[in-house]
Subunit: 90 residues, 4 copies
């Protein structure tokens, strides 16, 4: 399981940046920023979230499907990814 | 500008919920939750973010375009929305 | 209604290009092209479709909301756009 | 490679339906249908395209990654899927 530990710090840093962006939107709303500004910040959060999600999906596909240690593990990892792909695309 | 104030509290509450969901993902990563679980949580954040964005876009379209007080204001509000639509769709 | 006629030819040309791309995918499937190739072509259709949709939304926002001739028309045009935004974002 | 042949007919049928939907949009534009109607049809095409793409991605993940016959094939299939995920999410 060294892979989860390995990527963990990088992913946590990205999640914290996203949280910081949400705090920026909260402050913008409290400061009565215009809708245009809020919408630009929301679009930026959306991009960052999609990038993080792609990262976790790639990581999962590489380590829990392609390099899975057992046949059953690979099958399970594949089904988890299919479930996520459906959520995103359908 | 009473409209911004009026919607503000509701929108801030949604942004805070989103921030709470990001904290949940941070804890899940620290607790070494499986990728499948992390991906489900990320998909849930994405849905909440899209819902919030649609809300702000609707609000903007209603109050700053349809009900804009001046012709110039309406034109400006429309251009801001077009910019956002392009970011989301292209 | 001169606006609809004006844009019509350009939009029809884009729809036809999209149809041509779908035919390319059909041929690729019949020719037993690899999944990777099919997926790349599908991603390209998705981009073209999103671009066309953004175009129609912008056109609608400009001509049927911002420049609507009546207050009622503007309100109706705005509600139609809100309905579409919801479909795309929620 | 029996898998490609097996799924092929079903996928081609879906591609043809999509092409039919594009033809419907072409006719709607030629018949000067309202933007609202065109946008609803475009949203419907987008849903059908996403469903088809998810289908091809699942098929690829199952047959060319999880059940790949060689280690190299699995690796190659995984990289192809990662490339597509990046296109869709980033």
């Amino acid at each position: 399981m060294s892979h989860t530990v390995h990527q963990k710090d990088k992913l946590i840093a990205r999640v914290r940046r996203l949280k910081g962006q949400m705090e920026g939107i909260e402050r913008a709303l409290e400061g009565e920023a215009g809708c245009g500004e809020i919408l630009r910040q929301l679009a930026s959060v959306r991009g960052a979230l999609a990038g993080l999600t792609a990262e976790v999906m790639e990581d999962h596909l590489r380590h829990h499907v392609v390099e899975a240690e057992t046949e059953a593990g690979r099958r399970h990892g594949g089904e988890e990814l299919i479930e996520v792909i459906r959520t995103y695309l359908k």
